[in-house]
Symmetry: C2
Subunit: 439 residues, 2 copies
């Protein structure tokens, strides 16, 4: 089950699309073909679509036009629904059949070009929605450089807790407040307590931060009491997105003991709208980086040789900031960090196997977050907490402004990009949101 | 909004029911009328019902028989559905109209007795389901005696952390693995690490425990970014149940830092099937007990005078244990603890106001847990962790057996009972589940 996904003609970098703007598109060339839920211009109800260049292929319209049959048709029916939960639950084989068909349909020279072209909408005239009804949302903590940086604040000589290298640490997040890219996020109020203050006060968050994360959409899942073995876990991933785990550092510092973060995180999380499939990411699989000397091996139930061989990703992850003043002056978003998904101490398969190792049931449309993925170098820190050393060293922006934490009107943009020699590069589309003042 | 619910004829202890067995029923006399989802004998689909004595009134059948009209009819339509989410979302006024009508219908002398009787099923021939599709599940920690007892293990002189008396501590739990009373729970495996061991091992949990909690069903809820003021919070409670927050203490001890409990809790939680309404519990409201001298007052956004006057409950809570040997010998379940919901340091309204104070959105069918509700006295400890002092002092059972933690085949039963002078006592029905051996 965990064998590498074979590359095929759908990955061929020479493959070109008849859709204008698709070839060489930073995110959505014909080699990507991510799924999402959108409302087309005119306001007919939400339905499934596929991003291609600056367009969206309307799966409901394409089905009505008779463009899908057989296994691909069954998958297209599921993917055309109001949410992708059913499609995610189908698993890999139908998804791959549909990918083959979509690739053929959208490749230059397709006999059905005219009929398919009638099913395209300009993406900038569509409204994108959450791709699935999220059942449960779990946030992990597998970015070891982030965990180390945060741990250093409390324990300079021994930043990682003893369980970190045995347990893919994770905790339950709030599903209801996950929103799709573009939705504003209101600054939370909460209990803030300065170290020297006698008592907390209730006030708008003063240390608002982002977190750069990879999101993982769960596919078929498991029944309660029936763990998913690590060697089978890859089959339960429906796709990937970007996740900004907005964090109120001051609320978090006061509330988090002994049961973990709560109001510091659940006021809103932002995800990118497109579900990038495991197939699209297949060319960018890499071996899980070897553990530093002296680290323990994963326990046997978390160790699979094939997963170690190709369970990681080479996927560049970027954070950018756009302030109101920059927007006004026409200054483009400023890069705060460039990191990579290769900085995960645990693979996605290990996260799934761990999550279900006690019998916990996962379901199609559940969302997992990786935790903040910081790089080891200063240019790749995935949160302001790390970048400004807890607010002590402000970031200077090209507008001349500085930031210790996120201010009202600031917009945070996450991007992901996979590229390599001899393959067509793909991206995830943006995960962006602006902060509104506290109510 | 937070004024006390007025007592009316539906609470009259002299009111009798024509349903056999309802009068004097420990849980479900005509003064209770809780809602639930059940499948009737014969296997027609799940639908809403009302518990009365040892029977269930089939709301779908009663609607078809024309027994509801007007506001009560609209509420009955919602409550007759496959889940109670829609009904919970309606709020208090329709629920009260339906209660009035149900009470009249089921009271001795009702003109519609014959037609209503045709809509009754024997409860023991029905299958009970989760009453709602749980969106998000949040577990609080408001049982101060439990928090103190657990804290003493780590900090004998200073058991409560500094935030406890300011923050109604809570964290996100797993919604997918909540099951209704009667469903077996499989013992989880997990990473266990003895203090002296060099490394953890993966093995079945050896310190399996229960937690005695009150469950709270969320009603209408709020939009993201729009907190519910504490004075309005009571209007967002749809009802109450019992909750057993099964806990693997050994998994918890190793995993929980720094982000809180995860696999130690999410392998299964058990709730009682009936939604006991705020109206049914109105006679058992009491003032929130005064805080011990020296404790800080709640911050203003968590303080409402009316809530302090009648925001607590006098509700007896009981834990019983039945082992396979006891079952075989015909020994009845043995009481391990008798506690009371009055031992909540924060009211339910304060929990809701806190949860939404940062803008987090709650929705109909969300579930909140109170946290373990231990009494201050040794006979009222709501977990084995407390009762056996971390496994050091085993409990002796009437069968001659002893228990440090829960063993395979053991069944844990929670019960709740509200009673008082001049009012009809009511109960919640049982919350019970048996532990299966690890897979």
């Amino acid at each position: 089950m965990s064998e590498a996904i074979a590359l095929d003609a759908t990955h061929d970098p020479a493959r070109r699309s008849w859709v204008p703007g698709a070839d060489g598109h930073a995110d959505f060339p014909v080699q990507n073909l991510p799924f999402g839920i959108f409302t087309p211009p005119g306001g007919d109800g939400p339905r499934g679509g596929v991003a291609i260049g600056d367009s969206i292929l309307d799966l409901r319209a394409a089905l009505a036009a008779g463009l899908f049959t057989g296994a691909a048709g069954e998958a297209a029916e599921a993917a055309a629904a109001e949410t992708l939960n059913g499609f995610m639950g189908l698993g890999a084989a139908p998804r791959r059949a549909l990918r083959q068909r979509l690739s053929a349909l959208l490749t230059a020279g397709s006999a059905e070009q005219r009929r398919a072209a009638a099913c395209l909408h300009p993406a900038d005239r569509c409204i994108l929605h959450l791709p699935a009804r999220i059942g449960d949302y779990t946030d992990f903590y597998v970015g070891i450089h982030h965990a180390t940086n945060v741990g250093k604040v409390f324990r300079p000589d021994n930043p990682l807790l003893p369980n970190y290298k045995y347990v893919p640490i994770g905790y339950h997040g709030r599903a209801s407040s996950v929103r799709v890219s573009g939705a504003d996020v209101r600054r939370p109020k909460g209990q803030l307590k300065a170290p020297e203050a006698e008592a907390p006060r209730f006030a708008p968050c003063e240390r608002l931060d982002y977190e750069l994360e990879l999101g993982i959409w769960v596919g078929p899942g498991n029944a309660l009491g029936e763990p998913i073995p690590v060697g089978e876990a890859a089959a339960h991933v429906a796709g990937y997105c970007l996740l900004n785990d907005w964090s109120a550092r001051d609320i978090q510092a006061w509330e988090y003991q002994p049961l973990g973060p709560f109001l510091a995180k659940n006021f809103g999380s932002t995800i990118s709208p497109w579900v990038v499939t495991p197939e699209a990411l297949a060319p960018f699989r890499i071996p899980q980086p070897p553990r530093p000397q002296g680290d323990p091996a994963p326990l046997p139930h978390l160790l699979d040789a094939a997963d170690q061989r190709h369970g990681a990703f080479d996927l560049a992850l970027e954070v950018l900031l756009l302030t109101p003043a920059m927007r006004e002056k026409g200054i483009p978003p400023h890069r705060l960090a460039l990191s990579n998904a290769r900085h995960m101490y645990w693979t996605v398969a290990q996260m799934l196997a761990h999550h279900t190792s006690n019998g916990c049931d996962l379901h199609p449309g559940d969302l997992l977050g990786s935790g903040t993925l910081s790089a080891p170098e200063p240019s790749g820190l995935g949160s302001l907490l790390e970048l400004t050393r807890g607010g002590r060293e402000p970031v200077i922006l090209p507008s001349g402004e500085s930031r210790r934490f996120i201010e009202d009107g600031d917009e945070v943009i996450l991007r992901a990009r996979a590229a390599g020699e001899g393959v067509a590069g793909i991206g995830f589309g943006e995960c962006r949101a602006r902060i509104l003042p506290a109510a």
